[in-house]
């Protein structure tokens, strides 16, 4: 009998770690993975909330899970495009250091 | 609500189809892009004619309505609500016609970034149609602001030497006015719990009567709406952006700007200010009439002193739109119907003038009036069409301008709301002054000995494409001038309905 609280706290912690990863790492692949971690944290919260709603109301409730399903699908798409972009950047810049990709600066 | 074919949605968004097709074309395929854009604009015009054929002019109410719930948050009822009535149907037809003509007139004038140009032109048409069709303030506001963006780019990319300045000025000015309107829209929506204008109209009289919205608040709301529209019109003294925008805009931009965008301002007054705030409108009528009168005289006087042909016509717009404002706030059927006819007229005549000036500019690349002269001898067809357009703009009986000016002045002269014939009397001096500046333009360019510019350029008369561009406008000038009954019959029921709601 785990309280929902715990799941939520875990989710928040995982999310913050993902954020941290995005902020401190310079390797785009790891940044990308951190983003995936954040998505996962959110997914966890989704499922947990869905579950607690189900229990509180005493009837099946799937929206949380279905959202997770969609998130997974979107993540797959995102990864496909994102990795392709990273490969392309590597080919043109010959580096994976994200700090070298700063041509957007004003 | 029974389902019917969403004709107005099709009409509004059809240009997007053209945009999508153009997106798939390479930018080198300039002719293909032009043809796609023109075809799209023509089909849109066809759709507007189709819609017009379903329009029943005897019916004063909104027709072909499409009303769907769109956003419902916290008691805010925002609808996707398109409909047309006698007040707007002519303007929609004018918009679709002028859009097609504007695209046709850029055939050779724009060689640079044709793809972008056509995309922006078509998007602009979406915005303009939306403005005239939207019956929900939220939707209206979106279209209203949306129409700014393509125009901004049209001026800013394809304009003259000071294009960026003009584009930014155009954008900032119209934006500044709109923000006040947005506040007023939100206030109204909070009070009435709806964004739909017809719904508001059924709720508002009760609110006014109960004092929920005080007379002072009504006036403030009126002023907030008026701020947005008056800048767009532009009413004197808020016209400062207009000459810059017109002078720098490319021909098609000027045509659309003069022909349609300015009408959005006057249409706003007609559609929102008068019915939503009837008491304030009646109170404000003399003041607006005064501003309109000043605008008529001032625009005409300033226009006469210009050396730049496009600027001259730009200032003449200030004068013409002064007439429209005067007619609208006469708040009697003659004045309001005359004002709507005059909106159409101004779109046709001034649109035609800008087209014609664009044609000569394309040949000579100068807008200085002093280097022209004697063009009628060298370009007889051009001269003759220009003559018709100028005299139509001046208000010669038998051409369209006269019908509008006469009914406006007649209405304003006997208006109960303005309650002072002097405004109309002084405005009638504007008729003389119109003759002065138009003849100045016509004489300096077309009469007299051949000007300097003819020594440097081999000036060819209009080609077929250019003549075709002008024909619909010339036909309309004569049609409205000689047999305007059908146009008035379209307007009359809606105008009578609008005015019957006023506590006059």
């Amino acid at each position: 009998m785990t309280p929902l609280n715990y799941y939520i706290a875990l989710s928040a912690i995982l999310f913050s770690i993902g954020v941290l990863g995005v902020l401190v790492r310079r390797n785009p692949l790891i940044i990308f993975m951190s983003i995936e971690l954040m998505l996962n944290a959110a997914n966890l919260a989704f499922v947990a909330f869905g579950r607690s709603f189900e229990i509180a109301n005493g009837k099946p409730f799937f929206s949380g899970q279905i959202f997770v399903f969609f998130v997974i699908a979107v993540a797959a798409a995102e990864v496909a495009v994102g990795l392709a972009l990273i490969v392309e950047i590597f080919k043109t810049k010959n580096t994976v250091n994200i700090d070298d990709v700063n041509s957007l600066k004003g | 609500m029974e389902f019917h074919f969403p004709l107005l949605t099709l009409l509004t968004f059809f240009p997007v189809v053209g945009v999508l097709v153009i997106l798939f074309l390479k930018s080198e395929q300039k002719n293909a892009i032009r043809w796609v854009a023109l075809t799209t604009a023509l089909i849109t015009f066809g759709i507007s004619l189709w819609a017009f054929s379903l329009f029943r002019s005897a019916n004063p109410d909104l027709q072909l309505a499409e009303k769907y719930n769109w956003i419902r948050v916290a008691g805010w009822n925002i609808y996707y609500y398109l409909a047309v009535d006698g007040l707007s149907v002519l303007l929609v037809l004018l918009t679709t016609l002028l859009s097609a003509i504007a695209i046709l007139c850029t055939w050779t004038a724009v060689e640079d970034r044709v793809k972008d140009f056509m995309i922006f032109s078509l998007l602009l048409e979406v915005g303009m149609n939306g403005v005239f069709l939207a019956q929900d303030l939220f939707l209206f506001y979106i279209f209203w602001e949306f129409s700014l963006v393509p125009m901004y780019f049209l001026i800013g990319i394809w304009g003259g030497p000071r294009r960026v300045y003009a584009a930014v000025k155009f954008f900032l000015y119209t934006m500044a006015g709109s923000i006040l309107m947005l506040v007023a829209i939100l206030y109204l929506a909070i009070q009435t719990n709806t964004f739909s204008v017809p719904d508001m109209l059924s709720v508002l009289p009760g609110l006014y009567a109960a004092g929920t919205i005080s007379a002072g608040a009504q006036m403030l709301l009126f002023v907030a709406f008026a701020a947005a529209f008056a800048i767009k019109v532009p009413m004197w003294p808020l016209h400062s952006w207009l000459p810059d925008a017109h002078v720098e805009a490319p021909t098609a931009g000027s045509v659309i700007l003069a022909g349609v965008l300015l009408k959005m301002g006057t249409y706003g007054f007609l559609r929102f200010n008068i019915p939503l705030f009837p008491n304030a409108a009646i109170q404000a009528a003399p003041w607006i009439a005064a501003l309109g009168t000043i605008g008529i005289i001032y625009g005409a006087a300033v226009s006469y002193a210009q050396q730049d042909i496009k600027k001259l016509v730009a200032y003449s717009s200030v004068s013409h739109l002064g007439f429209v404002m005067l007619g609208l706030f006469a708040l009697n059927p003659e004045g309001v119907a005359g004002a709507i006819i005059q909106m159409v007229n101004h779109g046709i005549s001034t649109g035609a003038l800008f087209l014609l000036l664009g044609m000569i500019y394309e040949r000579t690349h100068t807008r200085d009036i002093n280097v022209y002269g004697g063009l009628w001898k060298i370009m007889p067809v051009y001269g003759s069409i220009m003559m018709i357009a100028s005299f139509s703009s001046m208000g010669l009986p038998g051409l369209n301008g006269f019908i509008g000016e006469f009914t406006i002045l007649l209405g304003a002269f006997g208006s109960k709301a303005i309650s002072n014939p002097w405004f109309a009397g002084i405005s009638a001096i504007g008729v003389i002054m119109a003759a002065i500046y138009i003849l100045y333009l016509f004489q300096k360019m077309f009469l007299g000995p051949a000007g300097e510019v003819t020594h440097h350029h081999e000036l060819k008369d209009l080609n077929w494409r250019e003549i075709v561009t002008m024909i619909p406008l010339v036909v309309l000038m004569f049609w409205i001038g000689l047999y305007p009954a059908p146009f008035f019959n379209i307007l009359a029921p809606a105008v009578e309905k609008l005015l019957s709601a006023l506590p006059l």
Partner: protein, 715 residues
């Protein structure tokens, strides 16, 4: 509701063809003439036929009208527009007044069309613009159509359409040779004259507009004649006075009365048939027609009538004095026209509508005759000029000739030869005998010599004036004296003595196509008086117009008035013989009157400096005002100072202070620069943030998230 019923009997169904016929002619010539290379005779023939059809229609309409004893008839063609209480139709009105005008307009018009075939054929050749032949007839037909709309309209607004329409045609035709002056030199003069005419007319139109607004709102919300006249009976007189005076402004514009007459002399820049048709016979009489048409208004307010009569009488005298001092044959006739229009306006102002109308018709005949003869003289001299030049060229070297021809007509000779200047004429009764006799008839008719048409019509006006307005009577009588004098001066200077220049010596008579219309007009000028002889049983015109105007006073011949005026005319002609006939003017000699009258003559010669006065008092100030408004008020103050400096500048200044404390000196600058500076400064600040490192962007996002969450927590 309608006082005269819409009719369907007789030939009234033809009424629209009054307008359609000239329009058809116009369209045919416009579409086909240049494309299929119509010959000049065909173009002119089509236009004349169109005009002729209109004349025949007028006759048929008059006939139908006489069948129903002059009872007014109306024919509705189509709805025009209706909105609110304003409802207008395209309805033609046939009553005795309008049919009379139709007959005059289309009849004289047809003759002038025919004449113009001959005249324009030579005119376009002298100016090397053969392509413009068709254009002339298109404009002429358009004018006829507008004029017929004017006279046949059933409401003030339809009248106004014709009213402005003829003004527009007048603009087109005065500016027909828009790239030159009257001597064919490259110049803005003709187009200026056209512009002046249109604007002066527009000032009058302004009066008309205001009058029609007053009519609409005060007289039963209608503009239809019968209805407003009915309503006028119960209207407050103040309103009627206002209406009539604003109408008078319109009349002054169209019929060239003080103070708006200034455009008419300049209008002589148009080809001569135009001067004859529009600026003498028909268009300028529209004002007289308008007053007559509005007779029910004027009859109600004698004060307004008095003002109209005095305006007319003063104009008559004023213009007559100027005519004395002119040298250009057409200018003399132009001022004479203004003067005669003054007679007519005075007459209708006095309520003597029949007399005014009688003079209108007679004047249409003899003034058209005079103008056309003048045109014939001018062309005759042009022919002589060319003849003389060719003779001259034959002597000179061929290279020079070639060069001259290259330059075209405009640059012939060192100083352009003016074929219209009477000082260049003389002795032309020998070279152009037919024209001479025709001109003489016209001049005698104009001077009011028995038994020509002008005698009868003018005496009727004078008699009316004597009975009602003695002041006007004296003004008009003196004007009649001057009239006879300047016509005498003209005859002596042009036709008698010896030719003062070679062209006048070699002048050739005009072809038949031009002289035949002259003969026709001369016959009308002689016999026109028969329309309304002042004897019992002969007041034909009076009885005819009575159907429209109500009871009309018929005047018996007053021997005293007739005697005085005839005697004065004869004396004037005698004086003119003493000055100009006895000792013919020599080439280069100044006008003998100049010595005699001194500065008065200088005034006459310079048109009393009225044009200069207008330039100084109206045109210059308006130019200045407009320049001031445009340059100082609108551009430098409103556009640059308020918008660029105050609004944009303040914004820039604030942003400059906010973003960069060192460079606020440049903060106040033009909007464009300012905006650029602002964005530069903004971006300079933003650059530090926009470092291109994605990570730091993400950090700022996170910062935002944290802040928002903090807000949510602590709110």
């Amino acid at each position: 509701m309608h006082l005269s019923e819409i009719t369907s009997s007789g030939f009234f169904f033809l009424a629209p063809w009054l307008v359609f016929a000239p329009l058809a002619g116009l369209l045919i010539n416009m579409i086909f003439a240049n494309r299929f290379k119509f010959s000049e005779n065909l173009i002119g023939g089509i236009a004349s036929a169109a005009s002729g059809v209109a004349f025949i229609v007028s006759i048929l309409l008059t006939y139908s009208l006489s069948l129903q004893h002059g009872e007014a008839a109306r024919w509705r063609l189509a709805e025009w527009f209706s909105i609110g209480s304003l409802s207008l139709d395209w309805t033609f009105r046939m009553d005795t007044l309008s049919t009379t005008m139709m007959l005059v307009v289309s009849g004289v018009g047809t003759l002038i069309h025919i004449y113009a075939i001959g005249y324009m054929r030579e005119d376009v050749r002298f100016k090397h613009e053969e392509g413009r032949f068709a254009r002339f007839f298109i404009f002429l037909n358009l004018f006829l159509a507008s004029m017929l709309v004017l006279v046949s309209g059933d409401s003030y607004l339809m009248l106004f359409v014709g009213w402005e329409g003829v003004g527009f045609c007048s603009f087109l035709l005065i500016g027909f040779w828009f790239e030159m002056d009257t001597l064919g030199r490259s110049s803005w003069a003709n187009s200026n004259a056209a512009k002046k005419a249109f604007i002066a007319n527009r000032v009058g139109d302004f009066g008309f507009l205001i009058a029609s607004f007053l009519i609409f709102w005060n007289l039963g919300q209608s503009l239809q004649f019968d209805q407003v006249f009915e309503a006028a009976k119960n209207a407050p007189p103040g309103v009627i006075v206002a209406i009539t005076l604003f109408l008078l402004l319109g009349v002054a514009g169209k019929s060239a009365q003080i103070p708006l007459y200034i455009w008419l002399p300049d209008a002589m820049a148009g080809p001569t048939p135009v001067s004859a048709l529009m600026h003498a016979a028909t268009m300028v009489t529209a004002g007289v027609y308008l007053v007559t048409r509005s007779a029910p208004f004027y009859n109600l307010v004698p004060d307004a009538q008095y003002i109209v009569a005095m305006v007319g009488a003063i104009t008559a005298l004023f213009a007559a004095t100027i005519a004395v001092g002119q040298y250009d044959i057409k200018k003399v006739l132009a001022y004479s026209t203004i003067s005669q229009l003054g007679f007519m306006v005075a007459a209708v102002g006095m309520g003597a509508y029949v007399a005014g109308f009688f003079h209108l018709i007679a004047h249409a005949f003899f003034k058209a005759l005079l103008f056309l003869s003048a045109g014939s003289i001018i062309l005759g001299i042009e022919r002589g000029h060319h003849h003389a030049e060719h003779a001259e060229h034959a002597d000179k070297s061929k290279s020079k000739k070639g060069k001259k021809e290259e330059h075209g007509h405009a640059e012939h000779g060192e100083e352009a030869f003016d074929p219209g200047d009477m000082r260049n004429m003389g002795g032309m009764r020998k070279t152009m005998p037919v024209t001479f006799w025709m001109y003489l008839i016209g001049a005698l008719a104009l001077s009011g010599i028995f038994p020509f048409a002008g005698f009868w019509s003018k005496d009727e006006i004078l008699l009316d004036a004597k009975l009602h307005y003695p002041a006007a009577y004296w003004l008009l009588t003196i004007a009649a004296f001057f009239t006879a004098f300047y016509m005498g001066r003209q005859i002596w200077m042009v036709f008698f003595g010896e030719a003062r220049t070679a062209p006048a010596k070699h002048a050739q008579e005009s072809p038949k196509v031009m002289t035949l219309p002259l003969v026709a007009l001369a016959i009308l000028s002689v016999g026109g008086g028969a329309l309304n002889f002042p004897f019992e049983g002969f007041h034909n015109l009076g009885h005819w117009l009575e159907h429209t105007l109500g009871e009309v006073e018929s005047m018996p011949l007053n021997l005293q008035v007739a005697g005085v005026s005839t005697l004065l005319a004869l004396i004037a002609i005698g004086i003119s013989w003493l000055i100009y006939g006895r000792k013919p003017l020599q080439n280069g000699e100044p006008d003998p009157l100049k010595k005699a009258l001194g500065f008065i003559y200088t005034g006459m010669e310079n048109k009393w400096f009225v044009d200069e006065g207008y330039a100084a008092l109206v045109i210059k100030p308006f130019d200045k005002l407009s320049q001031f408004l445009a340059d100082v008020v609108d551009w430098r103050f409103w556009h640059d100072f308020v918008h660029e400096r105050l609004i944009a500048g303040t914004y820039n200044w604030i942003s400059a202070i906010a973003l960069d404390k060192y460079s606020d000196k440049q903060g106040i600058d033009a909007f464009a620069n300012g905006l650029a500076t602002v964005s530069q400064r903004l971006s300079a600040g933003m650059r530090k943030i926009q470092n291109g490192f994605v990570r730091s962007y993400a950090l700022s996002i996170l910062l935002g998230v944290v802040l928002i969450l903090s807000y949510l927590i602590f709110k």
